[in-house]
Symmetry: C2
Subunit: 197 residues, 2 copies
């Protein structure tokens, strides 16, 4: 029979990058100095995990039916930017002056892990492209092997619907992850994106 403290430490390990030692330090810190903040965290976790789902249009996380960007009247619906994750979406939003909308894949093609077109919502993306409003699909997957494979798949999908696919300019370091690229590089790469051949 483990103590509440041990159970708390164990449950903190659900956080990414948090091992036994870090979980222990977190638990002691909360008990010692941050009981109020810890209780707020407990409440927010409960509410957020119950309420946050996916945007009906772009698959980003949101507690409403449409996320703020998809619901906004001031975004340009002719440009659609496909990213792997909400953090990539956020990185582009913060680094560039992009005024179009997004599609969040929530992953990348990875057949060995059982992640195919369906898991990435590509049927939904195809339906969107078929509507005819989108003229450019900006493909901003990560420059990794799987990200590149996903980009090629998306480019094909775009062409099938008469939509011009473009890709971020070289400048994003190869093998890197978009969300860790500095703003300047990302803004440059985004501005200098090229049509995909």
């Amino acid at each position: 029979m483990s103590t509440l403290l041990e159970q708390l430490i164990e449950s903190l390990r659900v956080l990414p990058g948090v091992g036994q030692k870090t979980a222990q330090r977190m638990a002691y810190h909360l008990l010692d100095r941050e009981r109020e903040g810890g209780k707020r965290l407990a409440e927010m976790l409960g509410v957020a995990l119950d309420s946050i789902g996916h945007c009906r249009q772009c698959r980003d996380f949101t507690e409403t039916e449409l996320c703020a960007i998809c619901a906004s009247a001031s975004r340009d619906r002719h440009q659609l930017c496909a990213v792997e994750s909400p953090s990539d979406r956020l990185a582009i939003e913060q680094a560039t002056g992009y005024r179009g909308v997004y599609f969040i894949l929530q992953g990348r093609l990875s057949p060995l892990d059982g992640i195919g077109p369906r898991e990435l919502g590509l049927d939904q993306l195809a339906a969107r492209l078929a509507e005819g409003e989108v003229t450019e699909l900006i493909i901003a997957t990560n420059p990794t092997v799987e990200g590149e494979a996903t980009a090629h798949y998306l480019a094909q999908l775009a062409r099938q619907h008469g939509v011009r696919p473009s890709r971020l300019a070289h400048g994003v370091p190869l093998g890197g992850e978009l969300e860790y690229v500095d703003r300047g590089t990302l803004a440059h790469a985004f501005g200098g994106r090229s049509d995909m051949p």
Copy 2:
């Protein structure tokens, strides 16, 4: 008006060593892959922060009146080991074969931060020493400037009550923190503790 996701990210920053970027990554990870684990964490946090207090005898964290060590009939009450924190207590418990009991200061003397004998529960420690059951006070504060000052204060307190003060052997690196010392070194230092002059 911030979204639930933004509020969740903000509240995760109450955890030690967690900045904006890490909090964001944690939130996405929970939403994406660990909703069940996240809910369990929310519940555990709520329960633990409400229920965990301090052991009446040793000041360690516990949800009961006495912690498991103080409540145990098999521990030797002649030896009392004073440590700064619950993690130090845990490190000694895991590294050594110590069968005595502990007193957790929950800090170290630091007049500039307003931490004096009262904040460390030294009136309670003095009362314990006065009872006459304790024959050795093993002082295991950290080998930092403040830890050393605390050790000298504790040694004096012990002598006032006719209790023999001892200190961990050299071997614990100077300026280091007990909880980060490897088990072997800690066990060696603990075993080779010397009486304080």
